[in-house]
């Protein structure tokens, strides 16, 4: 059946693991797979840790939720993960030294995916550090000529994460109508 994925990226501590756990239908796993082919030159014990969760849609369809591994040396994985994604979620930890620069970095790094789909940006840990505020992120987006929702998000809150995903979906298609309950049942049994 359909295999689709939604990518979560952002710096370490931004809340990727937590956000995926907030909306996943199954307890999220952290895969510590041996990255065989790509790391032949590297030490054999090298592993790639990425977050994985899943949403079960009607008709055996799945939406896979992937969090990009944080370590810079695994960023070759990012392109592999991003290919075919329905959209991108960037989480930014406001409590890091230069969160605006972080956002600039991730927007550029995932430019191809963003240009062909859409991006939603969640600013986490604003309860721990209020600056920069959301308008500064919006200014940055404007400079970079990117139109995207930017919300304050607490990755531990399902509502926050869900609102950001909804905003991403409606950015992809503002005319989207949720399925009616009976449609849902029909497609489930189809």
């Amino acid at each position: 059946m359909g295999q689709h994925k939604l990518i979560f990226t952002g710096p370490v501590g931004a809340g990727k693991t937590t956000a995926i756990a907030s909306i996943s239908d199954e307890p999220p796993v952290r895969t510590d797979e041996l990255a065989s082919d790509m790391t032949k030159q590297r030490k054999p014990e090298t592993t790639v840790a990425l977050d994985y969760g899943v949403m079960h849609l009607p008709g055996d369809e799945k939406l896979h939720l992937y969090g990009t591994p944080g370590q810079e040396r695994f960023d070759f994985m990012w392109d592999i993960l991003a290919t075919g994604g329905i959209g991108l979620m960037i989480l930014i930890n406001n409590n890091r030294p230069d969160p605006l620069k972080d956002l600039g970095f991730f927007l550029q790094r995932f430019d191809t995916l963003i240009q062909s789909t859409a991006v939603g940006i969640g600013v986490t840990q604003r309860d721990l550090k209020a600056d920069p505020d959301i308008t500064q992120y919006q200014q940055l987006l404007k400079q970079m000529n990117i139109k995207a929702p930017v919300f304050e998000v607490d990755a531990r809150s399902r509502t926050d994460v869900s609102l950001l995903v909804q905003a991403l979906l409606f950015t992809l298609d503002p005319g989207l109508k949720p399925e009616m309950e009976n449609e849902y049942v029909e497609s489930k049994t189809a």
Binding site: G2, H4, I23, M55, H56, L57, P58, E61, L63, I86, Q115, S116, T117, A118, A130, D133, I134, Q138, L141, K142, K147, A148, P149, V150, F151, E152, V153, S157, T159, D160, S162, L163, L164, V165, Q166, A167, L169, F170, T171, L172, D173, P174, G175, L176, K177, P178, E179, Y184, S187
Partner: protein
């Protein structure tokens, strides 16, 4: 009537002011209806027409309970007295009591002819439902015509002025326009308000002038005082972000209307997304924002084409506008189509990049993730 049923209220002879107050103060369980259908009447006993209205109600509906609003004590045991000025919980308490009394099973006296209800009994029965279709839930009448409000008649206007001053000079300001002061702390971009959302929402339905009257004060009572020495710690408990507070005040001030400066046919768009995770955010806000963010579109079109409740669309636009997020499009940009089935040719081009092939999948994800 059963406990689940709404209590139907009529306010005979009242000006829109009092009607708005009651609308503001009561919730789902109550409904404003026309005289014949009401379970209870609310009468402003201080109005000059009070005596004649009272007499006429008692004539027509001898057993119907009457709530009388007055600044003064009254000695009529058949009137439930609510003393002015009253607070929302005061009004709901009285209404709850009346509802409880009515819920007690009543002996219905049958007239001898054709088994119809007696005049008295029919006064408290729930017939004539058809006529009430025009009256929506929450006591707000479904308007077919777009209505407008002037933000400067409401708290919203004063709040925006106060925000500007306060952030301009970087000083804490106390705004007195209400029952309780609002204190603005521009450094941390927070406001202090000593009221919960229910109270706020209720008071927001009142234009400031009307509010001043209710408080028995004169209209000049909007005051701004610098408070440079306030100890912020004392207020920490009920601080809220300035933007989130203004958003909801504007939402409630609008009450389903558009601000006068935006006509329903103006092409408008959102400068950027509001920070909706921290704002008052009813169900359709995300989608309406996405539509307004995509490109210029008329408010009326969002209502007609997507079929959203006009009140929600208009309130959202009012709230976004209070934060300066609504831009009027003066140019000739094509309007954005919100019609998924058949986008117009121009729009197809305009949004080619974004027009996904996988609408079905997106819908299923949306359905899944919007569940609570």
């Amino acid at each position: 009537m059963s406990t689940e049923q709404t209590l139907k209220i009529n306010i005979p002879g009242a000006n829109t002011g009092l009607v708005n107050i009651v609308r503001a103060f009561v919730r789902q369980r109550y409904q404003l209806v026309e005289n014949e259908q009401a379970d209870v009447c609310i009468i402003d006993l201080d109005s000059h027409k009070a005596d004649s209205m009272l007499a006429s109600i008692r004539e027509q509906f001898p057993v119907r309970p009457i709530i009388g609003l007055s600044l003064y004590d009254i000695d009529d045991d058949n009137i439930v007295h609510l003393k002015k000025p009253f607070r929302p919980d005061g009004l709901t308490q009285v209404l709850d009591q009346v509802k409880l009394d009515l819920d007690v099973p009543r002996i219905i006296v049958k007239d001898n002819n054709k088994g119809s209800l007696s005049k008295a009994a029919s006064a408290v029965s729930d017939v004539k439902i058809g006529k009430q279709r025009a009256i929506a839930q929450n006591g707000i009448i479904n308007r077919s015509k777009t209505e407008y409000y002037n933000p400067s008649d409401f708290l919203q206007g004063e709040l925006i002025k106060a925000y500007k001053k306060s952030t301009g000079v970087g000083l804490n300001l106390r705004l007195e326009a209400w029952w309780n002061p609002i204190i603005i702390f521009p450094d941390i971009r927070k406001v202090w308000v000593d009221a919960d959302d229910n109270q706020l929402q209720a008071y927001c339905r009142l234009p400031l002038k009307r509010f001043a009257k209710l408080q028995e004060s004169t209209e000049k009572d909007v005051k701004l005082t610098p408070e440079p020495l306030l100890d912020m710690k004392k207020y920490a408990g009920s601080l809220q972000p300035m933007d989130a507070f203004l958003w909801k005040v504007a939402w409630w001030n609008a009450g389903g209307q558009l601000p006068v400066e935006i006509s329903e046919n103006d092409l408008i768009y959102l400068k950027h997304w509001p920070n909706i995770t921290r704002y008052l955010c009813p169900d359709n806000v995300v989608q309406i924002c996405a539509i307004l963010h995509q490109g210029p579109v008329a408010a009326r079109r969002i209502v007609d084409e997507i079929g959203f409740d006009a009140k929600e669309v208009f309130s959202l636009i009012s709230a976004a506008n209070s934060l300066g997020l609504i831009v009027k499009d003066e140019g000739k940009a094509p309007t954005v189509s919100v019609d998924v089935a058949e986008p117009s040719e121009t729009v197809k081009q305009d949004t080619k990049k974004r027009k996904p092939k996988n609408t079905g999948l997106l819908r299923r994800i949306l359905t899944h993730i919007s569940r609570r």
